[in-house]
């Protein structure tokens, strides 16, 4: 239902700082410009004595074509960091960037386009639209933008995720693992620069969780996708290239090439 004028609008407004930046998958890894980064990011709830500093001056960089896990105990600010960086929530102070775009500069329309065209989301609770079929849920971001889905890319995604035969089903007819795979396809369908995954395996059994994590790993390796995943599962973190540890709204540590054991070990150290 969207006309062309609206689409033109999408590309000319909001994305000004980087112009028509090449998408992440065509960019080689490690070429300098990060997929997202935050500078002195603060988020405070409440005021005065009752103030809670969910984010307390966070500086973090998420590189392109890498799989970064964000870990930390409950209340460490993992989800708040993700919300603020994705433009879902407003930080109290500091700046955050997706690609070269400063999220704080965008108005609601700009944020909407940012989410629609440059960012993909995967949630713990799947969050599919219950009235739409699996296929319709996958193409939803494109439908909203008034774009046609790239048939080859769509088939590739559903093929890789093994849900080609479940596309006509409603979310309520799918298993949890299947629903999350649909959510993965939806996150990737618009070829975003960055995918935010918030505890994507939190509601899944270990088998289904493994499948989702393998897919995410594969998309980084084969497609050059940039992924930020919030998790508290060391085994999930082991799929990542790098782990950022948070505690009390601050970055308290990092680890490259983690394994489940090394992550567990680090958590113990931090907690101790």
């Amino acid at each position: 239902m969207e006309d062309n004028a609206y689409q033109d609008n999408v590309h000319t407004a909001g994305a000004a700082p980087v112009g028509t930046a090449p998408t992440a998958m065509t960019t080689g890894s490690g070429n300098g410009s990060p997929a997202a980064h935050a500078v002195d990011l603060c988020k405070t709830y409440g005021t005065g004595q009752a103030a809670v500093h969910a984010l307390d001056g966070i500086n973090v960089v998420f590189e392109q074509s890498r799989f970064t896990a964000v870990m930390g105990p409950s209340g460490s600010g993992k989800s708040t960091l993700m919300h603020c960086m994705a433009g879902l929530d407003n930080p109290t102070s500091g700046r955050s960037f997706i690609g070269g775009i400063e999220v704080g500069d965008l108005n609601d329309a700009g944020l909407t386009r940012l989410r629609r065209d440059r960012v993909g989301f995967i949630f713990q609770a799947f969050n599919l639209v219950p009235t739409l079929t699996a296929a319709e849920n996958i193409t939803l971001p494109l439908d909203l933008a008034g774009k046609k889905a790239d048939k080859g890319w769509f088939d590739h995604l559903v093929g890789r995720l093994g849900i080609a035969d479940r596309l006509a089903g409603k979310p309520s007819e799918l298993s949890g693992g299947q629903q999350q795979r649909v959510a993965c396809a939806r996150a990737l369908i618009s070829r975003p620069e960055l995918v935010f995954a918030d505890e994507p395996t939190g509601n899944l059994d270990s088998m289904a969780a493994g499948e989702i994590l393998s897919f995410l790993r594969m998309s980084v390796d084969e497609l050059g996708q940039s992924i930020v995943m919030v998790t508290h599962d060391p085994r999930g973190a082991a799929y990542s290239d790098r782990v950022v540890f948070l505690g009390d709204g601050k970055v308290v540590g990092e680890m490259e090439q983690p394994t489940a054991d090394s992550v567990l070990e680090r958590i113990r150290t931090l907690a101790g």
């Binding site: 239902m1 989800s79 919300h83 879902l88 929530d89 609601d108 329309a109 909407t112 386009r113 989410r115 629609r116 065209d117 989301f121 949630f123 713990q124 609770a125 969050n127 639209v129 219950p130 009235t131 739409l132 319709e136 939803l140 971001p141 439908d143 909203l144 933008a145 939806r186 618009s190 918030d198």
Partner: protein
């Protein structure tokens, strides 16, 4: 996005259906009104075209003055007829007399079909007559009459039988020589017709030597224009020749006024229903948006713009509105027939015909239905837009527009409404009154959340005390979302406000009638025309003589005029209805409360006027006013006094001698009697008047009672029409409760898990519903009472002189609301009680 809109609609068919009912009913009412009046209009139009055929020209007296499409014309001398017959090109010409004649049934009752005219007419040459004799033949003597087929069938009359006919003079008995149809229909909208041969008609209808009209048919090949010109040339002053088309158009336009009155009245109630429906829709959409918060937020996360969300909600409303309007339109056709039946039940007769669905009806129905739905969805859509994307993943609440801002707006709108209402009331501008009331309702509805919690708490206290936990929870549920409680109750509030306002007006009219009737007459008995037929010019002049001769009757005063068919004259620039009494007996029979001048001025040929006329015309005693009569033309009259409103004598009062000099052969419309007392005299009067079934004898108490009965009947009709609005409001409550039950599935499951019985669940939902209903009813009755008092006090000039608040009716409304609330909860309560405990808790 359209796909989501559509899917969302289809995924909630139940919700869809419930919401749709509110619009369907409103649109049904609107379209039904149009279809009904269009159908009636169409029926009459084709009826008139059928009836008025066979002639080319009508010759008649020019209109002296006209009112509501009915012109007052003088009859024309019959000597014109032979002159016209001699005009070249005239093939046939016949004189026609029309007047009052009313059949008496076998059982001795005056026949009249729900206020339709009872016509007496002359039968003339076959080619020119609209009466087609289908049985028997035309009368050849002055004792024969032709009866219309409708009356013959309904009252079982046959050719050859005797029938009594009420006439200007004494009633007479005729032999039925034939049965006739109007054109090709048996029934002219309930009108009855007694047709006589021309000389008899002239005699019994009071037009000896005269015609009301002459019908002219031109010869084949003759130039119509030339014939019309030639006829016009020979006509005396004050007589006119017009074409058939003019006659047909006049007849059609004469029904337009009562029809437009009917449609306006019905549309007012239809709009009230739609207005209440709008609140129901607003409420449903608000709840639905609330329940879809996560889904809408999710759409925002994956890239839906605010505009897309806004349009999605409005789109849902538009589709809902469109579908409902179409259904409503279809039901409107059925309802048109239903309303017709309803009106007939209340004594207003309509001719029947196949329903007419005009393009205008379809357009208005669709525009209104879709428009109202979309308008009602705007506020919920704006709420939907404010849902932050993050609401999809965390339980953040939608920031509401601050209550303070809402209250500021609500107060402003309510005050503006009161102001507009005040202006409308003082200027008697009904549109402004309506607009003002609308403002008050919207304003109060916006303010309602402020009082929702404390009021629900107060109303629910007895329930909480008597019903235990279930009652306490029901009360708590009604208090926990003041906004939703207020929104749900506001539809019922408006419905009951309108009902209460009418109740106050009705009670005030009743009280005024009682006090006026008590103060209007000194007479012990009142003999008056039943006015069963609008054609009735009064009753026979022999009636006063008959009663005056009775031994127990000590004084009689004959009243002329003051009916729809008598006393018409022009007072300055407006049409009025004149009343006449005998100046000699005035003091003994009528109670006139003079505010200026003296009632004895009547004897000297002066006119008395009521205070309202004096005020609006800025007249005082001694002024001379121009008047005009159909028969005698222009004149002037002196104002001899001013009196307080009196229903027996109307607004303009003169002496009987004055009246008799300006009206030809006037008939009495009432006779006021003083008696030597006792019910035996009343019996004697009844007995003496038995041959006159069109007159009624009542003592003062009966007169009062019969007038009150009429008001009650009218009020009953109004309540029936308002019933729809109340039903729509109740559907709103059902809707909200069902949605609430759905929303609280987990909570109800939990309550069941910890030991609440199904019965208690049902009780809890019912308690909430009753609290909601009483809340809406209380506020509605308070506002409606205020509105009714304001309306009634501004109608002083229209005869409402006393204000009365019918407390007992209000209590009944309140109890009825509670019962209806209980009823509304039946289904939601059952649904809640049926919830499976495990599934309810497990549900995400």
């Amino acid at each position: 996005m359209w796909r989501i809109t559509l899917k969302s609609l289809l995924a909630h068919k139940l919700r869809l259906a419930l919401t749709a009912i509110a619009i369907v009913l409103g649109v049904t009412f609107v379209s039904g009104t149009y279809i009904l009046t269009d159908t009636i209009h169409n029926t009459f139009t084709s009826l008139f075209s059928t009836v008025y055929q066979g002639f080319n020209f009508q010759v008649r007296g020019v209109a002296q003055f006209s009112n509501a499409g009915t012109a007052v014309r003088n009859p024309i001398p019959e000597s014109i007829l032979p002159e016209i017959q001699k005009v070249p090109g005239v093939e046939d010409a016949a004189g026609s007399v029309v007047g009052y004649a009313q059949f008496v049934s076998h059982g001795g009752k005056a026949i009249a079909n729900n206020g339709a005219p009872t016509i007496g007419a002359s039968l003339h040459s076959k080619t020119l007559s609209y009466l087609h004799i289908v049985e028997g033949r035309a009368p050849t003597t002055s004792h024969g009459v032709v009866m219309d087929a409708g009356t013959a069938k309904k009252y079982h009359f046959k050719v050859g039988q005797q029938v009594r006919v009420l006439l200007l003079g004494p009633p007479r008995t005729f032999t039925i020589t034939g049965i006739a149809r109007f054109g090709d229909t048996a029934n002219l909208a309930g009108a009855t017709m007694a047709a006589f041969d021309t000389p008899t008609a002239q005699k019994v209808l009071g037009e000896v030597g005269k015609f009301n009209a002459i019908y002219v048919k031109t010869a084949p090949g003759a130039s119509n224009a030339a014939v019309q010109r030639d006829i016009a040339r020979i006509l005396p002053r004050g007589v006119d020749v017009v074409t058939r088309q003019v006659v047909v158009n006049e007849a059609i336009s004469s029904i337009n006024q009562p029809l437009s009155f009917l449609s306006t009245t019905l549309l007012i109630f239809a709009f009230i229903a739609l207005f209440v429906g709008a609140f129901t829709i607003l409420n449903t959409f608000s709840v639905v948006v609330g329940q879809r918060t996560r889904e809408l937020a999710l759409l925002r996360i994956v890239g839906a713009s605010r505009r897309q969300v806004f349009r999605s909600v409005l789109g849902e409303a538009a589709i809902l509105g469109l579908v409902s309007s179409l259904v409503g339109l279809g039901l409107g056709v059925l309802t048109a027939m239903g309303i017709e039946a309803l009106l007939r039940g209340f004594g207003i007769s309509m001719p029947s015909g196949s329903p007419v669905l005009a393009a205008r009806t379809i357009i208005v129905a669709l525009v209104l239905g879709v428009g109202v739905t979309i308008l009602a969805a705007v506020s919920p859509a704006r709420r939907a837009v404010r849902i932050p994307p993050v609401a999809a993943i965390s339980d953040s609440h939608v920031a509401d527009v601050s209550l303070r801002r809402r209250f500021t707006w609500g107060t402003s709108i309510a005050i503006a409404g009161v102001a507009v209402l005040g202006i409308g009331l003082s200027n008697h501008t009904i549109q402004l009154v309506g607009l003002g009331a609308l403002g008050v309702f919207i304003g109060v509805a916006m303010l309602l959340p402020a009082v929702a919690s404390p009021l629900s708490s107060a109303i629910g206290r007895p329930l909480a005390r008597t019903l235990g936990t279930a009652g306490r929870l029901g009360r708590a549920n009604s208090m926990r979302s003041p906004r939703r409680t207020a929104q749900t109750a506001s539809a019922l509030m408006i419905g009951l406000a309108v009902v209460s306002a009418f109740a106050v007006i009705g009670a005030s009219i009743s009280k005024s009638v009682t006090s006026v009737a008590d103060n209007a007459v000194n007479a012990d008995l009142i003999v008056y025309d039943k006015v069963s037929s609008p054609m009735s010019p009064g009753f026979s002049t022999t009636v006063p003589k008959v009663v005056a001769a009775l031994p127990g009757v000590t004084m009689t005063d004959t009243i002329y005029g003051n009916t729809p068919m008598s006393g018409q004259f022009k007072f300055r620039h407006s049409l009025g209805t004149l009343t006449a009494v005998s100046a000699r007996h005035l003091a003994g029979t009528v109670r006139l409360h003079m505010t200026a001048g003296d009632s004895r001025a009547l004897a000297s040929g002066a006119m008395l006027i009521d205070a309202t006329v004096a005020k609006s015309n800025h007249l005082s005693v001694g002024d001379t006013v121009p008047v005009r009569f159909a028969l005698t033309g222009r004149s002037t009259v002196r104002i001899g006094g001013v009196y307080k409103l009196n229903p027996i004598v109307g607004s303009y009062l003169v002496s009987d001698s004055y009246y008799l000099s300006h009206f030809q052969n006037p008939l009495p419309s009432a006779v006021l009697l003083r008696t030597s007392g006792g019910s035996s005299v009343e019996g004697e009067v009844q007995q003496a008047l038995a041959p006159y079934p069109n007159v009624q004898v009542q003592n003062r108490a009966q007169l009062e009672h019969s007038q009150l009965a009429q008001i009650d009947k009218l009020l009953g009709l109004v309540y029936a029409l308002l019933g729809l609005a109340v039903i729509i409001a109740l559907i709103g409550i059902v809707n909200t409760l069902v949605l609430s039950v759905f929303e609280r599935t987990r909570e109800i499951g939990l309550l069941r898990a910890v030991g609440m019985k199904r019965r208690q669940v049902r009780m809890m939902i019912r308690a909430e519903s009753v609290i909601l209903s009483i809340f809406g009813a209380v506020v509605g009755i308070i506002i409606g009472t205020g509105l009714g008092v304001a309306l009634a006090s501004s109608l002083g000039s229209a005869g409402i002189t006393a204000i009365s608040v019918p407390v007992s009716s209000m209590v009944v409304f309140l109890i009825l609301s509670a019962v209806l609330g209980l009823l509304a909860a039946t289904w939601p309560a059952r649904r809640a009680a049926k919830l499976d405990v495990l599934a309810a808790i497990a549900e995400e």
